[in-house]
């Protein structure tokens, strides 16, 4: 099957393609045989999932109570800017069990092959078998210091530090996989030293590219009534819009499965933001 043979790309440019091109390729594939590499992945659900991601990229869902948000956030880039490469890679991964994406050769271990398609009780992710493959493969390949004590996948690790993504790892993944120019402000422990955060984020948002916020989820989505909450970031979202009226900031962000809109105060924004990453396409051959 040569339909998904990955084309060569220049070393330093961000490849791009359109949704129509991806759908034209997908239209040629009526059915898939069950994969020998991924015994628990349902071919029909796999194809349906890929098509849904290409047609409506915002439908991609990290799953309830998983640590896949970092991988879901970065998926926004290929699904919007280069769906053909995403599609071809996923078909190759399905067929061969491994594949090269950008500068990374993703070759998941057997435990990952066995786990994809078996994740359950995660909402829509239960029936999104291609997303399960994608998230598990990325988490298996890319490691940061947060994964130090749990590097090998065991069932249930999608909710543990095995799947976690620290800030440096996130930015590294975007560079290696998709070849974007990535500018970053922030860290895992300290808030970014930006005098006027609203103005800074707004300037990022209005320039070409995609803006990712690295947030403290314990404040964004409160889950306990504790007075003391961990002051560390654990969540990534794609920022889609932002405006300020009087002292109220309205933010619109993609939080996987949905676009969310909420009003926050400047002080709250400062409290939750730990990182601002801006990804722009590399078009030069410097």
């Amino acid at each position: 099957m040569q339909v998904y043979a990955l084309p060569d790309i220049s070393v330093d440019t961000t490849p791009t393609s359109t949704r129509e091109e991806a759908l034209a390729i997908l239209a040629k594939i009526q059915t898939l045989k069950p994969s020998k590499k991924w015994p628990n992945v349902d071919p029909g659900l796999f194809l349906q999932n890929i098509k849904s991601n290409i047609v409506s990229p915002l439908s991609l869902y990290e799953g309830s109570n998983t640590n896949f948000c970092g991988y879901a956030a970065l998926s926004y880039l290929p699904l919007h800017d280069d769906p053909v490469r995403y599609l071809k890679f996923m078909l190759q991964l399905y067929e061969q069990g491994n594949g090269k994406y950008g500068d990374a050769f993703l070759n998941p271990v057997n435990e990952i092959h066995q786990a994809a398609g078996t994740l359950k009780f995660k909402g829509t992710l239960d029936i999104r078998h291609a997303d399960q493959m994608w998230f598990l493969t990325l988490a298996d390949h890319f490691k940061g210091y947060v994964n130090f004590f749990n590097k090998n996948y065991q069932p249930g690790d999608e909710n543990t530090f095995w799947a976690s993504v620290n800030y440096a790892k996130f930015n590294r993944m975007v560079r290696k996989l998709f070849k974007y120019e990535v500018s970053t402000k922030g860290s895992d422990l300290l808030h970014p030293g930006i005098k006027d955060l609203y103005v800074y984020i707004q300037s990022q948002l209005t320039s070409p590219g995609t803006t990712v916020l690295y947030l403290n989820n314990a404040y964004l989505y409160k889950k306990k009534h504790n007075t003391l909450r961990p002051g560390i970031p654990t969540h990534y979202v794609i920022l889609l819009g932002m405006f300020k009226i009087n002292n109220t900031i309205t933010i619109t962000y993609w939080d996987y499965g949905f676009r969310s809109l909420r009003e926050v105060s400047p002080a709250f924004l400062k409290k939750i933001v730990f990182g601002v990453t801006h990804c722009t396409k590399n078009t030069s051959h410097d």
């Binding site: 009780f121 306990k224 949905f258 676009r259 809109l261 909420r262």
Partner: protein, 197 residues
């Protein structure tokens, strides 16, 4: 074993077993209100999907998430704020119904109600998820636990120990938000969780 050690052992084992009794007692004591909450939430959810949350311990401030085709709107209000009424009106949600729902939730200390989707044999099903903040003694440095009740639309399968199963034949335990649930009756299950959503 000294007398004191024996007493301590007795207290520890009693505390371990009283969880089930507490939740069951809570459920049966408040059944009419809880059932009313489930029914009215489902009715309003049918016309406009939303979730409702009391964000503070005093049950005065609420957060509502309203789902439209394109966006999830997240609002925070004081319950008596006029903006709440205006917002609900904008999304064609009945203020009177929500006001009653909030009042019932406060009565039984329910601080979060939501609809959860789950899949059985690739088929989508839904349940109503309620979190309850039990009152009573709370020891410093001990993690606060929430009672979680799930209202299913259909009778569910349970094992001999009363644990919620995924399917009858496979006998796989169904977890919701990583918690194992136990039977209260065929359609209602409970768990104790350290988070309410």
């Amino acid at each position: 074993m000294t007398k004191i050690n024996f007493m301590l052992l007795l207290v520890v084992s009693w505390c371990g077993s009283c969880t089930t009794t507490n939740i069951s007692k809570y459920y049966y004591d408040n059944k009419p209100t809880l059932d009313k909450i489930d029914k009215s939430y489902k009715l309003e959810y049918g016309s406009r999907p939303f979730s409702l949350e009391f964000i503070d311990k005093s049950f005065k401030n609420i957060s509502i998430e309203i789902f439209t085709d394109s966006l999830k709107y997240i609002y925070v209000f004081k319950e008596d704020e006029s903006r709440l009424k205006d917002t609900l009106l904008k999304y064609h949600i009945t203020y009177k119904a929500i006001s009653e729902l909030l009042s019932n939730m406060r009565t039984v200390h329910c601080n979060w109600i939501n609809n959860l989707d789950y899949y059985v044999d690739k088929k989508k099903n839904s349940l109503v998820f309620m979190s309850i903040r039990p009152l009573g003694l709370h020891f410093p440095f001990k993690r606060k636990k929430y009672y979680i009740l799930t209202y299913f639309a259909q009778p569910q399968y349970y094992d001999r120990e009363g644990r919620l199963l995924d399917k009858r034949r496979l006998r796989k335990i169904r977890k919701i938000n990583e918690d194992v649930f136990k039977r209260i009756n065929d359609k209602v299950a409970y768990t104790l969780s350290d988070r309410y959503r």
